[in-house]
């Protein structure tokens, strides 16, 4: 059974990578007057899933961990 948990964790790590790439601010292709404004519309249209919540929790713990490691 722990193989399934290990697989789930690996899949979660993949999801995190993809999420990180998705959330990267994309530079607009053109800067003309008629070019679409801002890149936030795509971000707003995505709902928050349970997996996003998990990723947020993991991020918080990781940040705290890094902070303590840097202090040491």
């Amino acid at each position: 059974m722990s193989i399934e948990f290990a697989k789930a964790y690996k899949n979660f790590q993949k999801f995190e990578e993809e999420r990180g790439q998705r959330n990267m601010p994309v530079a607009p292709a053109s800067k003309g007057l008629l070019s679409p404004r801002g890149g936030s519309s795509r971000m707003q249209s995505q709902g928050t899933t349970e997996l996003d919540k998990v990723a947020d929790y993991v991020q918080q713990i990781r940040k705290h961990r890094m902070k303590i490691r840097n202090d040491q």
């Binding site: 059974m1 290990a6 964790y9």
Partner: protein
């Protein structure tokens, strides 16, 4: 290897329906239905000194974090705290928290995803490689020298063997060629 012996202590199909409804914790509504609630339940445990000491011991013994998180969550599924879905969802949070504990204790933890086995699940290559690596050196060289045609020959010999004929004894059975 599959054993032909029957599993005597295994559950009988439909056995779960013989107990009274709601008589088992996992047959009642779960206490925590979402990841948020489950995280709220698990996180205070990481502030408990006894829990952290025991956890550090286990991590130090080289038990993978995935296994520890599985044990933790499965026990709570059995007690009806949350579903197995929530258990799988919350496990990355637990693994990350355990890594934090290991960091504080100055231990390099075994996460459980290091093995190449997890990348090749369902493929025989890893299992074959391991089996061959266990053989003494001389034997593995002999294995390499075997030609690929060898198993085919064996198969063809098996096919040529005549099937044992059952002796028919019924009234309508064809009479022999006596």
């Amino acid at each position: 290897m599959i054993s032909n012996e029957p599993k005597i202590d295994g559950p009988i199909p439909g056995q779960s329906l013989t107990a009274e409804p709601k008589s088992r914790p996992w047959r009642r509504p779960y206490q925590f239905a979402s990841v948020d609630e489950a995280v709220e339940f698990y996180m205070p445990q990481f502030a408990d000194e006894t829990f952290v000491t025991l956890l550090t011991e286990q991590i130090e013994n080289g038990i993978p974090l995935t296994t520890i998180s599985e044990i933790l969550t499965t026990a709570n599924v059995m007690e009806g705290r949350h579903s197995i879905d929530v258990a799988v969802l919350v496990s990355p949070v637990l693994i990350e928290a355990m890594q934090f504990v290991a960091d504080n204790a100055g231990i390099e933890p075994v996460i459980g995803t290091e093995s190449e086995l997890y990348n090749t699940i369902g493929k025989d290559s890893e299992l074959v490689r391991r089996a061959v690596s266990k053989l003494p050196k001389g034997d593995s060289e002999d294995l390499e020298s075997i030609e690929m045609d060898a198993p085919m020959e064996e198969e063809s010999m098996m096919a040529e063997e005549p099937e044992p004929q059952m002796e028919r004894r019924g009234l309508m059975a064809p009479r022999g060629t006596e």
